[in-house]
């Protein structure tokens, strides 16, 4: 069952890419991409249930369907599906008909790579999958061909390639540490590494983990390795920004977590978790600084992604059933809510013809429905009730306050309040402050752009009001799979 679902998730975009490249017709390309994303989404929706009965491995142990991976794939598939709907409306506004087919081929490829990375059961293949996400998305970031887009793409590929080469170094060191236990040649699966970990050299593992953390942390967008993120998120087309933020960052986060559970099994002590917590707290701090003084609308959303990756890193870093559950719930909520925000930002950017917050005014008057949705999303993304992110942030705080890193939880609470004020202040200006000279938007928001905002908004609201019991149990299984929490590690 799980195997069939994985196959569907992968084959649908692959088929779409092939047909798009062969026919090169823009209208057909949009529909094919949409159909592929719908198939992947449908399969990903069933995957968590199918992955529950123990990890299933396929293809000579190279591919895995485990609960954690299934969850990340589901998040990626959701945003890929929503962004594909939104993309149809958004890309038509760009008037790039001739290159549209190529865009959708790349877009499907990007969606595919973000969904493939969490399936990889081999540390080397996982590295390659993450590298592929970079290569594909670089050209999506550069798609508009403006000097700013090219600059963003260049910085993106250089910073991320540099970071990811550190991850490769860490991977080689992990493999080397494994050879002391398993002999010179072995299949580097997560399970094999985890099983051999208790006999590995702790110093070597500590160094290897730090390299991996910095490497994949670059891709996650943890400060201070986040520098590529605001540029790439703000200069790519809006559907690409949504996919970068909602799918790519999570796909790198799962790698960090898989290595963390190996490192902890190697009796490294509290260091790995502490570093993850510090990076998470620092990301929140940097995001707070830049959110308060931001002038670009999409850069605002990008720094909000840095913030939420920081929150997620804190959740995973605090660990235990609550920390892991909070972080995983946060992943889903952030995926949905940030897609909503990027969709709104993209539509406003196009209709008002500017990226500057100060030039976008009276959104509520010109766009009563879409504007209201976007405003509600903004309240949600800052972690206010009754939306999903409130529930997950509260759970993470609860995990943090009872653990050894309570300082980080307190800092997180303070910074979240700062971000709440700073972020919503920008929305106050865009909605309620009258402009000096009237700037009317030139155009309307099409149904293709409005519908995915509803599709993202409704679940965020529902998940905020009701945390389903089944999901809670599912998180328990993942937390168990990640090994003992920090409390037990400290006791050893």
């Amino acid at each position: 069952m799980a195997g069939v679902l994985l196959l569907l998730i992968v084959l649908a975009p692959v088929a779409a890419i092939v047909v798009i490249l062969l026919t090169r017709r823009p209208r057909l390309a949009e529909r094919l991409n949409l159909a592929a994303s719908a198939v992947s989404f449908g399969a990903a929706l069933l995957l968590p249930g199918a992955s529950l009965g123990g990890p299933h491995v396929f293809l000579d142990q190279y591919v895995i369907a485990d609960p954690f991976g299934a969850w990340v794939i589901l998040c990626a598939a959701i945003v890929y599906f929503l962004a594909s709907i939104y993309g149809i409306g958004y890309m038509r506004m760009l008037e790039e008909e001739a290159r549209l087919a190529r865009f959708y081929a790349l877009f499907a490829g990007f969606g595919l790579t973000t969904m493939v990375a969490p399936m990889m059961n081999n540390a080397g293949l996982y590295w390659i999958a993450i590298e592929l996400t970079t290569l594909v998305s670089t050209f999506l970031v550069a798609f508009e061909r403006a000097p700013e887009s090219i600059e963003a793409a260049w910085k993106y590929i250089i910073v991320v390639s540099g970071g990811i080469s550190l991850a490769l170094f860490g991977t080689v060191l992990f493999y080397w540490a494994g050879t002391f236990v398993l002999g010179p040649s072995y299949a580097m699966t997560w399970a094999a590494l985890g099983a051999a970990a208790p006999h590995m050299n702790p110093t070597l593992i500590a160094l290897a983990f730090l390299l991996v953390l910095v490497g994949y942390g670059t891709k996650v967008g943890l400060a201070p390795m986040h520098t590529w993120l605001p540029d790439a998120h703000s200069e790519g087309p809006a559907p690409v920004s949504a996919l970068l933020s909602g799918a790519l960052l999570n796909a790198a986060m799962i790698g960090v977590m898989r290595y963390l559970s190996i490192a902890e099994a190697a009796h490294v002590g509290p260091l790995p978790r502490a570093v993850l917590v510090v990076l998470g707290a620092f990301s929140l701090f940097i995001a707070a600084l830049f959110i308060v003084r931001q002038s670009g609308i999409k850069r605002l959303m990008a720094y909000s992604s840095v913030e939420h990756m920081g929150v997620m890193a804190l959740g995973f870093g605090f660990g235990g059933p609550f920390g892991v559950a909070g972080a995983l719930y946060h992943m889903l909520n952030h995926t949905l809510n940030k897609s909503l925000m990027f969709f709104g930002a993209g539509s406003m950017m196009r209709t008002f013809g500017t990226k500057e917050i100060t030039l976008i005014r009276r959104v509520g008057r010109y766009f009563p429905v879409v504007g209201a949705l976007w405003l509600a999303g903004a309240v949600g993304i800052t972690g206010a009730p009754p939306f999903g992110l409130f529930a997950s942030e509260l759970t993470i705080l609860r995990a943090g306050l009872s653990g050894i890193h309570a300082w980080a939880a307190i800092l997180m609470a303070i910074l979240l309040i700062v971000i709440f004020i700073g972020f919503l202040n920008h929305f106050r200006i865009m909605y309620f402050v009258a402009p000096e000279s009237e700037t009317a938007p030139g155009g309307t928001v099409s149904a293709w752009c409005a519908v995915p905002m509803w599709l993202a908004f409704i679940p965020v609201l529902v998940l905020g009001l009701w945390w389903p019991e089944a999901i809670w149990h599912y998180f328990g299984v993942i937390a168990h799979g990640l090994g003992p929490g920090p409390a037990e590690v400290a006791l050893r």
């Binding site: 293949l125 000097p147 260049w154 080689v172 050879t179 002391f180 040649s185 931001q294």
Partner: protein, 226 residues
Amino acid sequence: MIVTTFPPLAASLFSLIAIASLLLAFVMLGSRWLRHYIYAFAAESWLIAVLSAAVGFYGGFPELYVIAVLTVLFRGCILPYLILRIVRPLDVAREVDVGLQPSSSLVAGAFAVIFALAVANHLSVGLGLAGTVAVLALTVMLSLKLIGFLMLTVRHEAVSQVLGLLVLENGIFLGAQILVPGMPLLIEIVILFDLLIVVACFGILVRYLSSHVGSTSALSLNRLVG
């Protein structure tokens, strides 16, 4: 543990190759001419190929011969050729504005090597491998990493940055041949292919840079801040 089982002659040969590739990294650091970087990189790749073959011979890993051939082909021939092709239409023969003069870069590079040696030594003592070729492999791995990052920071020309990244990768590849010669063949081959795609992508981006931004120097990429 495989590194302790090599005969002394093999260990010295590996050390010689490792040191020689480290020296080539210093050639890159000490020069301003883009061509020198490319030739030094190509020579380094050939050395790595020789190393792969030697490790395959002494360690009994016949699949490493395949890696050696592919390394010569990809890293030693195709990559330098691709990079030369990127450089040719650009009309930049050398670095004009360097953040750090070549002489100072050499000193910084030397400190990087000393730091790398200290870390490698500490690790090997913990692993009971002090005095073996593993120390040197780790040192070269770490120092090429640091030197690569140094090049990325102080050089501004797009091509130098690409080469900086390739030096990072070379370091890992070189160390991996000595430390983990048994690494599955599939992974190594995929990584080699991946590198080719990376450089192709860089080529396209460099072309965009020169046609849409009007310059291939990172110093002119200053629009996105805050």
